[in-house]
Symmetry: C2
Subunit: 265 residues, 2 copies
């Protein structure tokens, strides 16, 4: 069917998920919403994150989407259960796909998770991992400075390495062999993170797994688009288009088109 | 009169202004609003900052305040002219007091200003300085990483010094002798900033000047409280109370009481 896939994020990070969805499902129409006026979510409370996420869901439903992807670890950790409880539409989050891949990757059954404070405090990754294998140990660490570093474009700077070291040194002592990048910004810091953790630790970026999950759900529901035609991909943001466009370029390495500001958020 | 002074900020930073107002005007009632659900403002657009600031103003007016202090450099830079245009109540921002103090302090007529991207792009400090002395040169630099560093509590860390150096090295070449800390978070990074700039540069923290301006305006309007009684100081936030309380402790070195979450923002 032609109805679009709806994807929302607190801001820009969800574009890494859009990229993988487009790669795997190149004919699907997409409506993306980035809540750039209220970004970031990761420093805020559960109630506020749920409130914002419900509003984002309503916005996407207004665009007649056929499935909703929560392309934000913080929203997925805290708001997904509530959204799933209230709405009939299939909802896909980023936690379960990331947890699944980490469980598959670990050999010594010690997994690390890094994310925003809200994601880490929620314990969402640990819950999902335990559902798959109770014998796995999960260690987690909030890294609040990673998002500003990425948005500042300092991913290759020595400061990125120093900050990564400050947060991740404790993990090396735990002996994890797998580390979930539990925030859509973090893949842009892969080289600094890998540098600190060493080559023996596998980094998990869930975007590809999320795209696979989207395909799986669409197929299951009979919702895949049949037409092999160029799709419409529309972006909506709650703050100014120009700001989003600038940071998007850092994320995707290309200019985005079809971006509109939503007046009423 | 007993009506309270209204003070708003995008979040926590305005508490440095509250502190100075309380010191100078110990009998005044105060209502503070921190928009912690939508913080930060400094990475957002002019329209969004104006919209949020107008909403904050309406909130404070609902508490029958006698004057409104915009204790946020970003809001003061971008929204103050609009708020002043629309509302009858006296409005005090933080830009003019800071600019005044910097003009007074500089000997070589070269002033630096650091702030959020929105504050720096607005050119608000430069405008105010030029009103006072057209012969002064103003150089400015956005320092987006300073706020997250303060909120992470890394003010004494080596990383704070490295980040300060990265932003401020260009200023040393300009030969400024005065530097305006154009964001309420920055006074907490004074030691790192002073370290980079050297002892010859005077750092301007406008909070004290803002308090003086509040006293001046209240006296002028005949609005000073006559009763020498313990005042009521109330705090309202748009996100969870506990999060605000934690960061407030870092800012003020003490526990805050009388904090309430506002349900409808």
């Amino acid at each position: 069917m032609d109805r679009p896939i709806g994807i929302f994020d607190s801001g820009i990070g969800g574009l890494t998920v859009v990229k993988e969805v487009v790669r795997l499902l190149p004919f699907e129409n997409i409506v993306y919403f980035g809540d750039t006026a209220r970004v970031p979510y990761g420093i805020k409370s559960k109630d506020t994150i749920i409130k914002f996420s419900l509003e984002n869901t309503l916005f996407l439903l207004g665009h007649d989407v056929k499935v909703i992807v929560i392309a934000c670890n913080t929203s997925s950790s805290l708001a997904l259960p509530v959204i799933r409880k209230h709405f009939k539409i299939p909802i896909i989050g980023v936690i379960m796909p990331g947890a699944k891949e980490a469980v598959y990757a670990t050999k010594n059954k010690k997994i690390g998770v890094i994310g925003t404070r809200a994601t880490v405090n929620s314990g969402a990754y640990e819950q999902e991992v335990k559902k798959l294998d109770r014998g796995i140990k999960v260690y987690s660490q909030a890294c609040p400075m990673f998002v500003p570093i990425v948005e500042e474009g300092w991913t290759q700077d020595d400061i990125a390495y120093k900050v990564a070291k400050k947060y991740l040194e404790p993990f090396k002592k735990k002996g994890i062999d797998t580390l979930v990048l539990g925030c859509t910004h973090y893949p842009l810091l892969k080289s600094a993170i890998q540098n600190v953790m060493g080559p023996g630790v596998t980094l998990i970026d869930s975007a590809q797994q999320v795209a696979l999950e989207v395909k799986h759900v669409l197929a299951q529901e009979g919702y895949l688009r049949k037409k092999r035609m160029k799709p419409a991909i529309e972006y909506f943001v709650s703050d100014e288009v120009a700001i989003f466009k600038n940071v998007a370029k850092k994320f995707l390495g290309k200019e985005l088109k079809n971006i509109q500001k939503v007046p009423n958020v």
